[in-house]
Symmetry: C2
Subunit: 241 residues, 2 copies
């Protein structure tokens, strides 16, 4: 079957930047391409938009089909439309991004992908890697640029909105929370500044409990004040850590 | 001539939300549609993306072709992809937005549009207008929703970045600056709070001059500190007025 139009049309795709956090580093979900174009290369999960689905639906479907991930809150990031971004033909891609706890999402190659895995963001070649980088992983197409855009958006978001509490256990220490911010922002933070700012948001509820079974001095446990968390997530605030 | 593809493709369009400020109100540039679809209806300037141009180029071209506006800094806003947003067929639209000084940009219907004009944003029906609005202007397609999205983005931006100094004369009073913010945010601001916050940004240079030829007591003139302005525009800051 073929489809004919009066004027030429770009192909329309979606691509997903799913960041994962664990105790170690900021990671991103990659798939190894099985199709003809960029065969064998690592890339962001994505594919073409169907006529009967919204862009959001296309992104969720492609993510599921290629990597097995579902129940991910994908947010629209930016639409990439450089004329030569795909060597085959003109393809415009609507990029999405999300931030999840890696342990909740096993990456496994599903249909349309040869392999799927979490890769450390800092091991990937992007426009911000600089001119003389060590051996870094090359992504297909302009996916390095899409990754950089998502990383920048994530950093901007974190300045104004608290990080998702679904990334931490229900009760956590300030050390754990700081470490989460350090992983997401990909840089160390000053402990005193961090504590002053995070406590200044009145976002945390201090519990009577301390952590259990640790070798070092047991630290105070906190949890998020859900009402205030909802309000800050919605309205934003200045939180430059 | 016709163009044939193996799989069906959505049409890809761009639409431009160009906000204009003058002394009176926040306005938006509209064109009256000359084509077959939504003929005679008011809409945002826009049209289909050509294969040999980027999305940014398509937006600038359509804006120029339909309304005569050029030299406008258009920023990508969001991509709208509801399945039924255009009654003709599946059309996905990449929306752009800009904020300009109205007096710098005469709107005139160019090719592809029957008419072009600046309309007050508050006179237009949008999802945020509420359920029992007075007689408001209906836009074609989902352009009311696109307008609301742009308005919300503009408000968010203003919280973190200073308003463009190209919207004011080089030297201005704090009253003029506050009025500009009130127009853009579509609400009155408290004078003392506004002055405290804007002066706290160290963004303004206080001049030795005062305004000339006014009936009321002549107010102090200010201008933007360009270096600091550049830095804040780039990096953002918390500026909730």
């Amino acid at each position: 079957m073929s489809h004919t139009y009066q004027y030429p049309r770009p192909a329309l795709a979606v691509d997903c930047v799913v960041f994962g956090v664990d105790d170690e580093a900021l990671k991103v979900l990659l798939i190894q391409r099985a199709g003809v174009a960029a065969h064998g290369q690592w890339a962001l999960p994505g594919g073409f938009v169907h006529l009967d689905e919204t862009l959001d639906e296309a992104a969720a479907r492609e993510l599921r089909e290629e990597s097995g991930l579902s129940r991910v809150f994908l947010e629209q990031l930016y639409t990439f439309g450089q004329v030569d971004r795909d060597p085959r033909e003109r393809v415009v891609s609507v990029a999405y991004f999300a931030l999840v706890r890696m342990s909740d999402h096993q990456a496994k190659a599903a249909t349309d992908a040869a392999d799927a895995r979490w890769a450390r963001v800092r091991d990937i070649q992007t426009p911000s890697s600089g001119t003389d980088p060590p051996m870094l992983l090359q992504l297909a197409f302009d996916h390095g640029e899409i990754l950089d855009t998502a990383r920048q958006r994530l950093r901007n978001k974190v300045r104004y909105q608290p990080l998702g509490f679904e990334l931490l256990p229900e009760k956590f220490t300030l050390r754990q929370l700081q470490h989460l911010y350090e992983v997401v922002l990909e840089r160390p933070l000053d402990k005193r500044n961090f504590r002053r700012k995070i406590l200044g948001m009145n976002l945390l509820e201090e519990l009577a409990e301390t952590e259990q079974g640790v070798a070092h001095r047991a630290a105070r446990l906190y949890r998020f004040d859900h009402d205030r968390y909802e309000r800050l997530s919605r309205e934003g605030l200045n939180f430059e850590v």
